[in-house]
Amino acid sequence: MSGGADRDRPAVEGQGVRDDHQAEMRLNAVISRVLVVGLLAAVALLVVGAVLSAVQPGKAVIHASTVTKIPGQIAAGEASGFLQLGLIVLLLTPFARVLALGAVFAGRRQWLFVGISAIVAALLIVGASLGMSLG
């Protein structure tokens, strides 16, 4: 999949540069797709939750439930489950993008950037874990 920039880009470079650019555009397509899928899924869940909140005014939507309660809430058609799952999907999307970048770099044997991606992912996990545990 090539973006608009690829279509409009003039073919003034040499073949080697052009090949590198095509490889970059494939990388861009993978990462853009990860972001779009995560974003659309999150927005869909949030919209469903918002609609349910509007038609179920008696239901409490402002409370923090544990992750394990979310499937039951969704099965019961409760707005809270959709809203919280939507937020979780949204928050996991940047992390998924880091993992996807690392995987693509690994496929290309660009080990420096595999290492950098791994460091960012590890720091995110450590940071979130510390923040949660320290309260």
Binding site: L87, S117, L123, L130
Partner: protein
């Protein structure tokens, strides 16, 4: 909560997302004071909603910028190591730092940076030759507005890494995204064209904000009644902002960035003087 309030929350997100995507700052600079001052949202709910909104802005804008080949993902990931590490360190030492002093220092620095960006014409650098060696972190992209391929090499990486670390460390303390430091240093210090700097910052800030947001979520500090309308508005706004960024001139984008940075610096200096604006 009445429908009017929900719509106003969505509008705040829309405006914040539009400008946030255009200047690579995330939109929290606008969202937090708008929520607290005009809509009476408690500060913790406003900050948590803003953090989630930054993730939404980053994800929406980055999807467009990455597809258009504007974001320099290798540079972004490299700088992100220092931002996230800085955020971790800042989380532990932040309590020992004076928020007022930091606001005063960064406010003064940002005034100088914003004025310099407008006065100096270095913000829009000339492109390198198509076959030039761009190095491991250099990049090229097609500028629709100039209708030309812009190629650039990244300079002074250690400076950018250091500033990224500082941005991560202070962003949580000041309640703003690290983009307010990373965009200027990329443009003025590292030779990255302003359009690429904005796009790369948008790509980066979502990662930083998602770690902080996860903590707020786990502690039950996110109010869905506030966060959801803001996030939905932000998503639409960031989509609009990313489209505008692709079409306006780099010089106009530089001026918009400078104005936003100037407004942020005033906000910081007022905060340092004890005059709350959020």
């Amino acid at each position: 909560m009445c429908m009017t309030h929900v719509i106003l929350l969505g509008i705040v997100g829309l405006v914040g997302g539009t400008f946030g995507a255009m200047v690579g700052l995330g939109g929290g600079v606008f969202i937090i004071p708008a929520l607290t001052l005009f809509l009476g949202v408690p500060i913790h709910s406003a900050i948590s909603a803003s953090l989630i909104a930054v993730v939404a802005t980053s994800t929406t804008a980055a999807a467009a910028y990455v597809r258009e080949d504007l974001s320099n993902m290798r540079l972004g990931m490299t700088m992100e190591t220092m931002t996230v590490a800085g955020a971790l360190v800042g989380g532990f030492v932040g309590a020992a730092l004076s928020k007022g002093v930091l606001q005063g220092i960064f406010g003064a620095v940002m005034i100088c940076v914003s004025v310099y960006m407008v006065v100096a014409k270095r913000a829009v650098r000339g492109s390198l030759a198509h076959d030039a060696d761009l190095g491991a972190l250099g990049h090229s992209y097609y500028d629709r507005n100039q209708q030309t391929v812009v190629s650039y090499r990244v300079h002074r990486l250690p400076v950018g890494m250091g500033v990224s670390g500082i941005a991560g460390a202070v962003s949580g303390l000041l309640g703003v995204g690290g983009g307010f430091l990373k965009v200027p240093v990329m443009v003025l210090g590292m030779g990255v064209p302003v359009r690429a700097a904005v796009s790369t910052s948008s790509f980066m800030i979502g990662v930083t904000a998602c770690a902080s947001s996860a903590v707020y979520f786990a502690r039950g500090m996110i109010d869905p009644a506030v966060a959801v309308p803001v996030v939905l508005g932000t998503t639409v706004g960031a989509f609009i902002g990313s489209k505008l960024t692709l079409r306006i001139k780099s010089s106009v984008l530089t001026v918009i960035l400078a104005v936003v940075l100037f407004a942020l610096s005033i906000q910081m200096i007022l905060g340092a003087a004890g005059i709350a604006v959020r």
